[in-house]
Assembly symmetry: C2
Homo-oligomer: 209 residues x 2
Amino acid sequence: MKNLADILDLEGAAGPPTERMLQILTEACRLFATRGFDGVSVRDIAQECGISKATLYHHFPDKDAILRPLVMGITRSLHQRVLGAIPSGADPAEKLRAFLTESARFFEDYRWAFIVSSTVFWTDPQARQRRQRIEWRDRHEALLRGILEEGVRSGAFRIADIGMAGRLVLGALNWMPKWYDPKGPLPASAIAEQFHGMLVAGLGAKPGG
Amino acid sequence: MKNLADILDLEGAAGPPTERMLQILTEACRLFATRGFDGVSVRDIAQECGISKATLYHHFPDKDAILRPLVMGITRSLHQRVLGAIPSGADPAEKLRAFLTESARFFEDYRWAFIVSSTVFWTDPQARQRRQRIEWRDRHEALLRGILEEGVRSGAFRIADIGMAGRLVLGALNWMPKWYDPKGPLPASAIAEQFHGMLVAGLGAKPGG
DNA sequence: AAAACCCGACCGATCGGTCGGTAGGAGGAG
DNA sequence: CTCCTCCTACCGACCGATCGGTCGGGTTTT
């Protein structure tokens, strides 16, 4: 797990987060990922950090303020990082590979936060910050669709429905947290590499193969 | 939504569930799916059913007893139904199509329960019933792997890693609940059909196409 | 001394769950 | 027919525990 501070979205924060704030966010993130937002009490988080609940509330105004930077930050950072990892001059298949492998690397670096973000997404009662998050997600999906469209135009891909193909790709990717074992033999990026191969070539044996 | 009673797993129940029990399970299922198990109080469920909380506890011993038949029933029924829908004599590609489309139809029939099952799966603290559910899930995954292996043997499929291919297929399928709109233009089975086409043929344009 | 950090104790609200008791239909006895 | 009993479904009120959040005051750092 890389440094969580790199991806947090502190919004109205005055400066960079303190050590204590980072500790709280890190522990809370892990707990939220394994037991869900409602399944974790503020007392649990404080205890895991070795501080009192009152102290936790000295650093964060309320429970939502712990969740927000995680979820918002992940959604934004994933898009920005994947966007930056796609080689501009490459052919579409190569771009798709970069999309998949960089997403996997990001997932590997920030696994807990990634899980929190994807599970909280649709159970979240907060409609206000929801819109902002959906904007980043839409931008991310548009990035993938752009790659696929470019492939269709260049003749590299043959796709009937771009949106459907995008959902296929994202489904395979977003389902990874449910079964991926960080102690397993393959790093996430290698798995994404395999996914890329199967997605582009298909599972069916070609006549010319 | 088909009749929920067809898929419930009542375990030690004396007879078929009463109307009231079905109502409670149906309303609870919808609430669990939209707000999560911990996000729904027993009072919420009772109110949605137009009864008092005490009455709800007359029909169910505790909150877990409402969740259990839903989650266990879905996991078991999905496998049994998909298993029964796969034509024994057909070629592997056709079997894979049946696997995908029947899964989609099941999801369409029992959408809320399907969502509850997939979200609760890994946040569930109950280890006892967890094992039984995992057995059904493993059986389901083995069914898919069997189809893929048969395809590789017959030469219909060319797959490097069966397990990885299975996760690719299940990922695309299990991610559907997150974006599928029942009021949308396409039924879930048609979407599964498209997925099947893309998965087998691949997104890349063939040389001979 | 000022500011940042920390804590024990407490708050009202809500949680899952229990209690004693009621309304009403079924059924047997007189 | 009436009377009594039993049973199921139902409810208002309540329980201890825990929830998110607050408060006044203590300690440490600058």
